[in-house]
Symmetry: C2
Subunit: 194 residues, 2 copies
DNA sequence: CGTCTATTTGAATGTACTCAAAAGCGGTGG
DNA sequence: CCACCGCTTTTGAGTACATTCAAATAGACG
């Protein structure tokens, strides 16, 4: 699925590093591949790993007390994912992470990440920008959820993630949009008749 | 309202700085006070200022095409606020920022912020952590919006912002929760009878 | 006290939901 | 190649929750 000779520093596309930095980077990230269906994090686990997706797709979700599934976030290439509340405050997971298509990721522990940022401000800056991008996308999504009807949220989703359809089921999309699969089905039908 | 002798470095509570860093910090942040009702940002403005709240309360909101008002974010003491999509990508604002109670803020431009981060990794690290906290809180709010009925979202809100009620109107809360003022009124009535 | 703004109430409407069942799709094995 | 199985999506009918619009009440402030 992926060239095994790839270097860990591929994460930081346009950056260049000293020999020492390269060594640290290679020692703190773990490259891993996972099959579709793997659960990487479950509620109440310690959530001290962050995943940086290189190939495939992960999702962060929660099962509520009525058994309903809610997708908080998807992560595709170049996006990271973790249960942030738990990861940043070093508490137990309140969400789950699932591999929804065969994936290759780089994973890093909180401790190693702190170490890395300390030794190499350049990497902190790189991930800070990733975080800003993710935050902006959450702000926009929040606005959409507050202001748009389900049909337009769906259209936005398709526009934002044009190639994700291979990886995700409609019920994933529905749970991301905050509607039921039945409603999504009706929306899609309506859109196809126009 | 506020001790005028306060130093800009008060922003970075527990950090200490070299003389040089202190000088930069004092030169890049602008301290400002604003009256309730001031509009700090309007749609289509250039959104190159970020506000770090020291006292008072700001909100980030959007008026949709039906004229409905949606609150994307509140900022109280120790939280920052900006139209992130616009700020980070240096594009025009898609949202507005309004002062909803008399406030004292530190403001910084995108350019100065980049300069500061460059000169002082410590400050970048400080704000990166603020961003992480904000991101985690968005993840949680998103989950709540997806999984909880309006009544419980309201209860969560009151728990999360216990002292905000002096600053915000009920219609601000409603627009933050994604419901109408009428619905919020009914929810509050129901809660008071129990 | 009067004015402006904010909140509450009521009645009718609408959008999305629930539950149950049918249809579609994809893979496996005979 | 077809038959079967499990999983996903679609369809239908009834329901629930929040919305809309309009009007009444309550609060704040000069």
């Amino acid at each position: 699925m992926h060239n095994d000779n790839s270097k860990t520093t591929e994460i930081f596309k346009d950056l260049s590093f000293t020999k020492k930095e390269t060594e640290i980077i290679e020692s703190v990230f773990r490259k891993a591949t996972y099959k579709k269906g793997t659960q990487l994090l479950q509620v109440n686990d310690s959530a001290d790993i962050q995943y940086y997706v290189q190939e495939g797709c992960l999702r962060l979700y929660h099962i509520d007390r009525n058994g309903k599934d809610h997708t908080v976030q998807f992560a595709i290439k170049d996006w990271w994912i973790c249960d942030c509340t738990a990861f940043f405050t070093e508490s137990k997971a309140i969400m789950n992470i699932e591999v929804i298509s065969d994936s290759m990721v780089y994973e890093i522990s909180k401790k190693d990440r702190d170490l890395l940022y300390n030794q190499s401000p350049k990497t902190e800056s790189f991930f800070r920008k990733k975080l800003e991008r993710a935050f902006a996308s959450f702000q926009k999504r929040m606005l959409g959820n507050l202001s748009l009807p389900a049909k337009e949220r769906y259209l936005n989703f398709v526009k934002t993630y044009p190639n994700i359809e291979k990886s995700v089921k409609n019920y994933h999309i529905a749970s991301f949009l905050g509607i039921t699969t039945e409603s999504l089905s009706r929306i899609r039908k309506e859109l196809s008749n126009s």
